[in-house]
Amino acid sequence: MIFRRRLNTVTADEFARLYEQHLDAVFSYCLFQVADRQLAEDLTADTFEQVWRDRRRYNPEQAGFTTWLFAIARHRIIDNQRQQGRRTHLSLDGQHKDETPLPEEQVAREGQFTCLRDLIRALPDEHQELVALKFGAGLSNRRMAEILNKNESAIGSAIYRIMQKLRQQWEVENVSSHEA
């Protein structure tokens, strides 16, 4: 008979607190990735369900909770994209569908959002994922490196290049739209 030390257990209350802390980021990450608000909600809920189901497999010595959580969300998204047979792209369509009318200044920003959305759509898939993790989820480069199993400085460099590219295109687009 083999014995091991008793597992510590994480209570439902502790998980509930963690959910509250991470919900916005996970949902934002999903929506940045899949472009569909309802699908993003489903993926977010699926992610947290899996986290709860697999909580005993989680080893805090191996990874931080945030890393583990986003790794699960990422796999959920990848699985969904495989099922869909194609990769969807960032979209703000419908983002405010169920919201009350936006304030005037936000309406003005919608033009910027729409422009940026198209620019991000044109990025390679892996760059879109970096944008989703960085700006959607709001993760640090270090956390992103853990999730993507890459070097932290490589992540920083990649995002810096993406930002340069986006800024150039965005400024061109902004100038064009203002001239128009």
Binding site: D24, W52, P60, M163
Partner: protein
């Protein structure tokens, strides 16, 4: 360090614009502001949906832990009669009272030879007299009131002592549920007609089962229980035939180990004095001892554990 501390107790927070700008060494933050502005807010419906996950899952687990309920306890009784930890504290306490106080019930289990650490050692051969109605005995045996399973934290809040836990468990086992119970105050008369009021002990029953990843490696009914009563010198308790016990040692304290279980020769009949025999080859065992003012009964079934294994678990209880 608590698990919660490991789980980033400082709290997770999405990076703000300033943090991103600093991290990426950017000179212009306007684009970052627009990108961060793209972050959507989850709907209230999603918040409720996610919040409900732990509630629902916890409820499911509690429901699972609550099994076997009354209808399932009855078929299990032949094998687990007065031994299994899944039978509630109420049953335990009721048995304490009934065995000691009611002659017919005492006769049901044979003459009490010895009582130690919450165990009642009876004559190996059950007495069955014409005065005992099998139906009545069945009624006694099935007088089970299921106490709902609760979390360890909830159990702790209900008892005046720190609930000890085993630090060692069979591989893949975890705490599945806890129960807290006590019986009604009992009244009886002794042979001289004196009124005896019995104050039942508070009992905590900890129920351990294989976790989801390890259920396949154990017998479906594999279970481990630890009953903890808030007093020593208990009379009454789980019954076993006198002679089945072995004197052992748990951390220097005298303890009693019993291997086997009551089984029902005729599976189609309810448990009764005519239909219960002790099977010492059955894969089940009890280990009982007293320490620090508490009485412990560690019981397991279908685990393939040796006597040394049970003692090792018992000695890890802190």
């Amino acid at each position: 360090m608590s698990h919660h501390t490991k789980l980033e107790s400082g709290g997770f927070r999405q990076q703000a614009v300033e943090e991103i700008v600093a991290e990426l060494h950017l000179e212009n933050d306007e684009l970052v502001r627009v990108l961060v502005g793209l972050r959507p807010s989850p709907s209230q419906a999603l918040r409720q949906r996610v919040r409900a996950i732990t509630d629902m899952e916890q409820a499911k687990e509690m429901e699972k832990a609550g099994e076997p309920r009354r209808e399932r306890i009855l078929p299990l009784l032949p094998r687990l009669v007065l031994r299994a930890s899944v039978v509630t504290a109420i049953l335990l306490v009721a048995v304490f009272l009934l065995i000691a106080a009611v002659p017919s019930v005492r006769a049901t289990f044979g003459r009490i030879m010895q009582q130690r650490f919450g165990l009642v050692l009876v004559e190996p051969v059950l007495e069955t007299t014409s005065a005992i109605e099998p139906e009545a005995n069945s009624e006694v045996l099935t007088e089970v009131k299921v106490i709902p399973p609760i979390s360890l934290e909830e159990a702790q809040a209900q008892v005046p002592f720190t609930i000890p836990m085993p630090a060692i468990l069979p591989e893949g086992f975890e705490l599945w549920a806890a129960r807290v119970g006590t019986g009604p105050h009992g009244e009886s008369m002794d042979e001289d007609g004196n009124r005896i009021v019995t104050v039942p002990p508070i009992a905590v029953i900890l129920h351990f089962k294989p976790d989801e990843d390890n259920q396949g490696r154990y017998h479906p009914e594999a279970t481990l229980g630890l009953d903890i009563m808030d007093r020593i010198g208990l009379s009454g308790g789980y019954t076993a035939p006198a002679g089945s016990e072995q004197e052992v040692d748990v951390n220097g304290n005298s303890a009693v180990f019993v291997k086997g279980a009551w089984i029902r020769p005729d599976e189609n009949k309810p448990p009764s004095p005519d239909n219960l025999i002790w099977d010492d080859a059955y894969d089940a065992a009890m280990l009982s001892w007293e320490a620090n003012g508490l009485t412990y009964i560690l019981s397991g079934s279908h685990l393939g554990l040796s006597q040394e294994d049970y003692i090792r678990i018992a000695e890890s209880v802190r």
